[in-house]
Symmetry: D2
Subunit: 317 residues, 4 copies
């Protein structure tokens, strides 16, 4: 039997208590494009995303991430993942084609931290309508139509109160994520981990916070910009829209530049992300950072992000 593999981060399914505000934030300020609205769910993506959606927005009773979607490498990998997960004691739920717009059969299951993951293979690569279509055959929408205008989804960062090692082991052993960089506490426990199945330094990061309100919080999701100047332009746009943010700054880990900003509708934190390095090495040695090195590791320069700011909480997954 082939070992099933994950190809990439697909999408985040977000529920918001203020649909109007969230739509304003993601469409007007961030500048995501709407693919379509189906049954009250608005499906969004960036101008350089190819699949039907990388973010879905739905009204909910509390702000939460319903699930994080991952695309499998081959059609048969969805069932293979289901088999392997069930065999090793993880419950798996099957999702019907079309239950999520644009998507084929998929499975959902929970990490030991109770974060819900979805694995799918089939997803419509919806063409843009003529008025928004790019002149480039390899680009979905015209860029720079509105707001910050990021190119594509980049990664998710999940926060948990349980032992982060349990989560990264699950991600590595069952889903094939490779460890790229990590931060170790003096007691050897894992403070943070950056893992990927792609050449990105991370498709997912796992952050540990013993005071996290639940084991299954979402720290942030991230969209990618092409240039550092685009990030500074984003700082201007956010400022003019009266939206607070942390950054700009540069991470040591990943070497990327960032701005962290919250959707005022859901409280979901979004990282605007640019620069950094890619990992092509198959024999990559994970970079280990200690807490002492975090001055450089989290923020080489620029405005730091404080996870614990009262006005800057995380939301539940």
């Amino acid at each position: 039997m082939n070992i099933p593999e994950i190809a990439k981060l697909g999408h985040v399914a977000l529920e918001t208590t203020d649909m109007e505000k969230s739509l304003w934030f993601f469409k007007e300020v961030i500048g995501l494009e709407e693919t379509e609205e189906v049954d009250g769910v608005v499906y969004l993506r960036a101008w350089g995303d190819f699949e039907h959606h990388t973010l879905s927005l739905k009204e909910g009773k509390e702000p939460r991430v319903d699930h994080i979607g991952w695309k499998a490498k081959r059609a048969e990998d969805v069932a293979l993942f289901a088999e392997l997960l069930v065999e090793t004691g993880t419950n798996v739920e099957w999702i019907e084609p079309g239950q999520e717009a644009g998507q084929g059969s998929a499975i959902r299951f929970q990490l030991p931290s109770e974060h819900t993951f979805e694995i799918y293979f089939e997803m419509e690569k919806t063409a843009a309508d003529d008025s928004r279509k790019s002149i480039l055959k390899n680009q979905t929408y015209q860029s720079w139509r509105k707001g910050v205008s990021p190119r594509r989804i980049d990664h998710v960062n999940i926060l948990t109160s349980v032992d982060a090692k349990v989560i990264t082991d699950f991600l590595a052993n069952k889903l094939g994520f490779k460890m790229r960089e990590y931060v170790k506490a003096p007691d050897e426990s894992l403070v943070g981990a950056w893992m990927s199945v792609t050449n990105l330094v991370h498709d997912i990061a796992v952050s540990h916070d013993p005071e996290s309100p639940t084991p299954n919080q979402i720290h942030h999701m991230s969209y990618w910009l092409d240039d550092s100047r685009d990030l500074l332009r984003a700082a201007d746009i956010l400022s003019e829209n009266g939206i607070k943010f942390a950054g700009p700054g540069k991470h040591g880990i990943s070497q990327a530049m960032y701005i962290y900003v919250m959707d005022p509708g859901s409280g979901m934190r979004v990282e605007l992300f640019t620069g950094g390095y890619l990992i092509f090495e198959p024999d990559w040695e994970p970079i280990e950072w200690t807490i002492d090195e975090m001055d450089v590791g989290f923020t080489v320069w620029g405005v730091q992000m404080d996870n614990k700011l009262e006005n800057n909480p995380t939301i539940k997954a």
Copy 2:
């Protein structure tokens, strides 16, 4: 038996007729770092390259590329590739560990176009000496020490007079490269192809030119810059050094920005490269361009590169 896989482009082994000029160009103007010099071969890399070298320079009787090195995914893949290639009629030569500085056992063989490829797995990830070392644990050298200062090697573009389809079939079937974008002539023949084993749009491009002086020419090799402003800075630096170049411009294919410049020592063309998109989709449909669309495909905007310029030839591989 497992199918062996290529992980990434490793290096280009370049021979120059004017070592002094080539060293000035690559070290002072482009700003590559020297790892070491062994037996008259100078091993160079960019500040963000991890392995021992991404370019080697050696005095030769004519300017030529001795081989293009590719890193295998697993240690055992080198022998597996050897086996598979021999079985299907390709001669394979074994290279002793250390024959190329920093490198373990490797194999060399020729494409049907007579371009020489090398496949290795073991390569020293040489640390930088203290005076050039970055403060970042995930970065080899300090950036911005000299000249253009690109981050890392990006891709190679090989030029051939033989049917390009024969080459891309070889790359796809024997080495696992995936077709990402291609240009088709009115007679359905292949004009150009962009292929990769990574998330880059191309690790290698194959260009067809019936008038190419040999079947095994090198069109260019490429180094990556982080920002479009860095490319414009490169334009200033090249201008001040009296070095002609084509660009800046933006490709439609790959969506990346470029400058093409030639090493005055060897005549090797180097593309300085930034921006563009990544392909994470496992079910990617190669983008087909026709000759009619090449106005946008080669150059959406900016200075075009003319392959046929007399002062802008290619060198032999």
Copy 3:
């Protein structure tokens, strides 16, 4: 009697044969803001312009520039200029307050090349309406609301078939413009001149072309962008809107980067402009360039602009 002085370029009054197209170009693509529409004249400015307008648009029978407006340094300078001009044989017409929206009394007169200049002092510094207003007290509108989004008007470039020296003498002797850089033909005649009353290298350039259809053509007007990346972003936006342009490139003269693009409604050429140097020296020695040096002088690198392109004509003033 005090010598009257010009403080800055104020505005360009443009007439177009296709108001709809020109409004689309200047408002949607370039991203200028509309201050107001009065009697069929639409008054526009960039987000960082302080005065009522820097461009006015009006339907006309042929595309032409009605006049170029210059702000005097002191209120009394308008009348002083009138006096001086009349004394030295130049006809002066008085413009009533409000004849041009936002503006006080002004004078109009013609250069020896028949280009019409206007000199005013009083001009409303109209505040932006709340929905477009910047959070910054020193900035008129929010930036980045639409399209290219330049910061402010920069300069004009007038083209003439008469001896350019006659025009630059007029500008220097009667209006106080200082010569900053110029290009000399082998016969010592003036090919081009860059002059200013501000610290900019030029508020006005004078270009000579013996084949110019009239003595009073407008070569282009220019808007300023803050960063080179903003110029490349403009290239993307223009490309996606199906609008051809020349550039990006970098001038040797002024050291600034540029894109030249034509308003499809009027045929008016607009230069998007960034970078370059300022002149603070009171004892500035004008930089002399010869025709031989124009490879560097006009375009150090990048796409050159060809004045003579059939699809790239100038319009009348």
Copy 4:
């Protein structure tokens, strides 16, 4: 009698207690060019500065700024300023030609805060030696030769414990500086003022701090960069050199981006500065900010500068 005028900020004469460290900082890290060394004084300037020097460095017993040099508009203005200053009770010292390398006759005098100003007119516009000379006739040195590589000197910011209004009145009434922006305390006293004789928002800023160790402190001097990306590149360079800094951030006042960094030799604070707006309006209404608005006024976004940091003091003038 004509009213004498100041044309521009010329230079800062700095004394350092650690010449080696200061030279390393200004030449290697910031990347200023050395014009020449005369009698132990090293004369420096940026690649786009035209005059002989914009910074002079000399070993001293304590870190201090000996004087700030200003260029007069006309040769005769030096003597006219001397006359006017003496008439109104300010002592004036004459400086011989050549006492400061490259410079003609000059005068020195003190502000009511005891800061020493120099006014000169004649200053050699020293050409660069061939190895560092730009290919551009309007540019002194090649850019990007080393370190941060700013284009030119920008402004000075003086700090005083005396009533700032006394100083700005002196600057306005005797030297012709125009008020551009200012910050007012609740008691109507002046907290800070930005003034200029050029189109820059400020050639000089005056900051009031009642706890300033002397009335004549220098808060910082500033060099200009062309692009925001150049500022982020500076952040990388400073980080790699182990030099702490505040920023990057964006001021509301002036709209410019900044990094503040201290010369480890002298303790002199240097602001790396880019972006922002120019003032061409002769009828400019100074922008008034209150203390309440300083969140936006000092730092719209980015890392704030804290004047009071123990490790971030000012030096004496």
